[in-house]
């Protein structure tokens, strides 16, 4: 398929006897928003790292626009794809502007300076994330939401076709969560960026994603549109909980009822 921008074929990764990635294949299409969901330790973050070649798989391949990612140069990859990791160095005392400038690194030779074009892109990244008024403030002086937006702005300065985000809303309060999710949606719509994210909040995943991929024990167990996926069996299988499903206009959401039999059994073994 021509709009297949990122794909994985038969990825295996053995990390320990209790944790491994097994035979994962997936395809991501242009301008799609996909959320990877699953319980803690199901391999979601590891999958993101495999897709961004931060970890090399033991077997299988990742393809970026049809090319094997392990045969591409780091800078060539960084010009097309980047990720927002979950945690950052909290002692960085850069200003927002300085941080965003690093996003141009993949396009720069060792000692190449900034051109007018780079400055335009940096300005775009800062205005798209609504950080103009605080671009000369240092990261530690910002709120969690502002800081997250600053990191997203840095990723944007890479002008990526694909942006992966590892739990972009964790540690944020609800209004900052919405702020980040709306920003991601806007970047997808207005700039055509393909989004892949790991999300813990399934209601947010359903609201903002075209497609969900559910993982369990290092394997992909289900995938499809939120509407197709949101049913009681799905929640029982993936999280071991019983839920009620409701609809807000056309978007499904769930409310947990109680921990299902599957989970109580697990707790006692």
């Amino acid at each position: 398929m021509s709009d297949r921008v990122l794909a994985a074929e038969n990825l295996d990764l053995f990390l320990s006897t209790s944790f491994s990635i097994e035979d994962i294949s997936l395809e991501l299409h242009k301008e799609e928003i996909v959320s990877i969901v699953g319980a803690n330790g199901s391999g979601k973050s590891t999958l993101l790292r495999l897709l961004t070649r931060l970890i090399a798989p033991d077997r299988g391949h990742v393809y970026l626009e049809g090319k094997r990612i392990n045969e591409m140069s780091p800078k060539a990859i960084a010009q097309k794809l980047t990720m927002l990791p979950q945690t950052h160095n909290h002692y960085l005392d850069l200003t927002v502007n300085d941080l965003v400038k690093y996003g141009r690194n993949p396009f720069k030779k060792w000692f190449e300076g900034f051109k007018a074009e780079d400055q335009e892109i940096i300005d775009f990244a800062i205005s798209a994330t609504n950080l103009e008024n605080i671009k000369h403030r240092s990261l530690p002086s910002l709120s969690g939401g502002e800081r997250q937006r600053a990191w997203i702005a840095m990723s944007l300065a890479q002008m990526p076709d694909i942006l992966l985000l590892d739990e972009p809303t964790t540690y944020l309060d609800i209004s900052h969560q919405l702020e980040v999710m709306e920003l991601i949606k806007k970047l997808n719509r207005e700039n055509g960026i393909t989004i892949v994210m790991v999300l813990h909040d399934l209601n947010q995943a359903a609201r903002y994603s075209h497609r969900l991929i559910a993982m369990k024990d290092g394997k992909i167990v289900q995938q499809g549109t939120p509407k197709k996926m949101f049913n009681q069996d799905f929640f029982k299988e993936i999280f071991g909980i019983d839920v009620s499903i409701y609809y807000d206009e056309d978007i499904p959401f769930f409310i947990p009822r109680y921990i299902g039999a599957a989970m109580t059994e697990m707790a006692w073994t």
């Binding site: 990791p85 690093y102 060792w110 000369h136």
Partner: protein, 343 residues
């Protein structure tokens, strides 16, 4: 009625003014220390006389003292301090550990071990001493870094602990060699204490090429060192070859530490104290941290040397001992205040 939001737009990083101020002050301190270093000593010589001694044509006693004794010692001290502080600043960034100092993590003792071997076993090959010291420093740095990263990543404590182990091993090796060659130890002892006593033009010309190369290469280290600060994953996602640049930065830090050790012996704590204080003043950004640390290191070593040779006149303390008196409490203070938080 509507109250208009007053948006105060700051036009640039507000810290830049302070950073430049710190740089200017550091530069002035260096000049002051150099001048003080030339005028103070067993014989105090006035600034005018120093000027005449340096730029006049007469062969006076003052010219002898200033030109042959004090000037080379001061210049050597500047380079030693600049190298040690730069090496410390780089190591702290590479290992993401504020306690990484060439003396603490075994880099200096690696250099010292090879230097002692050279001085005792191959006294005829002394011109290769800095090169040997560099290789010793490099091996020690790689061993410490490797040990600390086995298993679950390098925590600050693991780096310090492997540094202690490497330090102990190399210290034992150095002592062993000295005992086995006790007849030629006299030449090594003053060097081992760490200091600038008796350092003259030959020492200056020994360190000059190595220090110049190292300090010039530091300019190229600024960008990769800053990228590493973002974290390994982020740097990789920005297309940066993290492993390669970390290795090259370790090589550079070892080169700088080796250069310093080969002329001044084991001078500790400069690489710890200076980058720390500068970091508190200007922040982590290596564009400011590295050059200002180099200035600060030069100042500290020259200034401490002035105290070391004039305080207990006529007895001269090795500057390394004086620095340890200041540095060790500072190190304990950092441990105590949790200055060793890593990421």
């Amino acid at each position: 009625m509507q109250i208009k939001d007053k948006v105060v737009q700051i036009q640039s990083d507000p810290r830049n003014k302070k950073r430049w101020l710190v740089a200017v002050i550091a530069f002035c301190l260096v000049i002051t220390a150099v001048v003080l270093g030339l005028i103070t000593g067993a014989v105090n010589i006035s600034v005018t006389d120093v000027w005449n001694a340096l730029f006049g044509n007469e062969e006076t006693l003052h010219r002898q003292i200033v030109y042959e004794l004090r000037l080379p010692r001061v210049l050597t001290g500047l380079l030693v301090g600049a190298c040690l502080a730069s090496a410390g600043a780089l190591l702290q960034g590479i290992m993401r550990n504020p306690l990484a100092d060439p003396g603490i993590i075994g880099v200096s003792s690696g250099a010292g071990f090879v230097a002692v071997i050279f001085m005792i076993l191959f006294p005829a090959q002394l011109k290769f001493l800095p090169l040997g010291a560099f290789l010793g420093a490099l091996v020690a740095a790689l061993v410490v870094f490797g040990l600390a990263n086995i298993g679950s990543g390098g925590s600050p404590y693991r780096i310090i602990l492997s540094g202690i182990a490497v330090n102990a091993l190399l210290g034992a090796g150095t002592t062993g060699i000295m005992i086995l060659n006790s007849d030629s130890v006299q030449a090594v002892l003053p060097w081992l204490a760490g200091g600038l006593s008796g350092r003259s033009w030959p020492h200056f010309y020994t360190i000059l090429p190595y220090a110049s190369i190292g300090l010039i290469l530091s300019v190229f280290a600024i960008k990769p060192a800053n990228l590493l600060l973002l974290g390994d994953e982020v740097a990789k996602l920005l297309g940066h070859d993290v492993e390669k640049s970390r290795f090259l930065l370790i090589v550079l830090a070892a080169f700088l530490a080796g250069a310093a050790v080969s002329v001044a012996g084991l001078v500790g704590f400069v690489g710890l104290v200076v980058p720390h204080i500068i970091r508190m003043l200007v922040g982590n950004d290596y564009r400011y941290l590295l050059p200002i640390s180099a200035l600060g290191g030069g100042f500290l070593v020259v200034f401490a040397d002035i105290l070391a040779r004039s305080w207990f006149d006529p007895i001269e303390l090795p500057v390394g001992i004086l620095l340890a008196f200041v540095g060790a409490p500072f190190f304990l203070y950092l441990l105590h205040t949790g200055g060793i938080k890593s990421e």
